[in-house]
């Protein structure tokens, strides 16, 4: 809380847990209602724990922007799913072919906010730029969803430097939409969501292999 920058303990731990999606705030409301109304509703809540429902779960890591295929999904039975942000298994068929707005990791329940029609991705005023990044031009630990800065260097031969956007370099804010490391040589194929106004410049720099990706508001410090 107090020092955000250099707590390596805090910033580097990968936490394999999600608290709640925004939808699950409903449960908090529900909890508050429980306290207010007392035993009657608590009894209902306890009863609900045994109601099982099939929900959709990812069988592998699915990046944002991914078109969902049948083999990406399995059904898990969970109890008390009413009111949670899940996709019930009766929507399996319509889910196949839709596009993910957010990355979903293997074994995770798909939140019902995860799916959007094509138009929702990218958002209004945003554009998606693809780039192939050489090793050293991106932090190895970067993950889809990360806020990054795209740094354009003046020529392709120079060092890949740091986050400075001062002399000769220019930086654009972006979000890493997808990230895939190619088998050979450590090259990464990325999709960057940038402001539509910056897209042309970023895309041409990407084509000339003059961009580096720097993670900002980093989880991994240096």
């Amino acid at each position: 809380m107090t020092d955000r920058r250099d707590r390596s303990t805090a910033s580097q731990a990968q936490v394999r847990l999600l608290g709640t999606g925004p939808r699950r705030w409903r449960w908090l409301g529900f909890g508050a209602a429980l306290m207010a109304v007392g035993g009657l509703i608590a009894a209902t809540a306890v009863g609900r724990l045994d109601d099982r429902q099939g929900v959709l779960v990812a069988t592998g890591d699915l990046p944002a922007g991914h078109v969902v295929a049948a083999e990406d999904l399995k059904v898990a039975d969970i109890g008390g799913a009413d009111g949670l942000s899940v996709i019930p298994d009766d929507r399996l068929e319509e889910t196949v072919g839709q596009i993910l707005n957010v990355p979903v990791s293997e074994g995770s329940v798909l939140p019902n906010t995860a799916l959007g029609p094509k138009a929702a991705y990218p958002g209004a005023g945003e554009a998606v730029v693809g780039a192939a990044l050489a090793p050293g031009r991106f932090p190895a630990s970067v993950r889809p969803g990360a806020q990054v800065s795209v740094v354009i260097s003046s020529d392709s031969g120079t060092d890949t430097g740091g986050a400075q956007d001062g002399s000769g370099g220019q930086a654009f804010g972006a979000r890493l939409q997808s990230f895939e490391e190619a088998e050979d040589g450590g090259v990464a194929l990325v999709e960057l969501v940038v402001d539509a106004g910056d897209a042309a410049q970023v895309a041409s720099a990407a084509a000339a292999e003059r961009i580096s990706v720097v993670q900002v508001r980093a989880r991994g410090g240096d």
């Binding site: 303990t9 731990a13 936490v15 709640t20 045994d50 109890g79």
Partner: protein, 266 residues
């Protein structure tokens, strides 16, 4: 390098389930850790996370009787776990002591399913440890044990009285102290066990673990942060070497394992 970690208390609900879950969720390495809720008094995680109690501890205990090959044993825990959003596999206990106690007893007779040498590490929430109970037998499957204790007189006294017997039963045993103002060194000397870490009261972190609160960077919150520090130490096998040690060997009861040599703070 710890592969199976038992987390327990001697009573007083210092947050064993919460800390065990936090510890498992930040376990380093690609395979991470799976959380086994093996509290004979009944589990909380299924209710916190709105999960059914099957697959879970009861199924694992039933399967443990049949799994003969090391390969099948290694897979059993994961096979009876459910995956929480975020990716943490948890094998949950039923809510009642009646059912959970039976499953813990059964599992304690076939603890080999907890000693997998490959795949994810296992973090066990053993709840409150009672001497000579099935829980205590189950604890023996762990190669490292973490005793969570509040920094208060009654609890520390209980720990001190049990220290020698506990230390004899576990390969490696250390304390994690919840809150309190005493220094690690003072506590370690008072109870004659090393202090491996401190866990502060962190309402946000605890709510996050219960699944009631979202967080953009929960790893920065004190609870998860404390868990991550311990997870790294245990996974590296450096728990005793880098912890604040107990008293010098001369005053350690004979039953205790060799006292750690380094006494410096991490």
């Amino acid at each position: 390098m710890a592969r199976t970690v038992a987390v327990f208390s001697l009573g007083g609900a210092p947050g064993v389930t919460t800390f065990a879950m936090a510890l498992a969720s930040v376990w380093p390495g690609k395979a991470g850790a799976v959380l086994l809720e093996a509290d004979a008094a009944g589990g909380d995680i299924a209710a916190w996370r709105r999960l059914p109690t099957s697959p879970g501890l009861v199924d694992l205990a039933a399967a443990a009787r049949h799994e003969q090959t090391p390969g099948a044993q290694a897979l059993a825990l994961l096979a009876h776990a459910q995956t929480l959003p975020g990716g943490l596999p948890v094998c949950v206990a039923p809510a009642t002591a009646e059912r959970a106690g039976g499953a813990v007893r059964l599992l304690s007779q076939h603890p080999r399913v907890l000693a997998a040498r490959t795949g994810p590490a296992a973090v066990m929430d053993l709840g409150r440890l009672v001497p000579r109970s099935p829980t205590a037998q189950l604890a023996v499957a762990a190669d490292t044990a973490v005793l969570l204790v509040h920094d208060d007189l009654a609890q520390l006294r209980r720990v001190k009285e049990a220290a020698a017997a506990l230390a004899a039963g576990f390969g490696e045993l250390g304390l994690v102290v919840r809150d309190g103002r005493d220094s690690d060194t003072e506590i370690a000397q008072a109870v004659e066990l090393p202090v491996w870490g401190r866990v502060p009261t962190d309402a946000k972190g605890a709510a996050f673990v219960r699944g009631e609160r979202a967080g953009r960077r929960p790893g920065r919150w004190p609870l998860l942060n404390a868990a991550a520090a311990l997870a790294r130490r245990l996974a590296d096998g450096g728990a005793t070497a880098s912890a604040v040690a107990g008293p010098p060997a001369a005053v350690v009861p004979p039953a205790a394992p060799p006292a750690p040599t380094a006494t410096g703070r991490a």
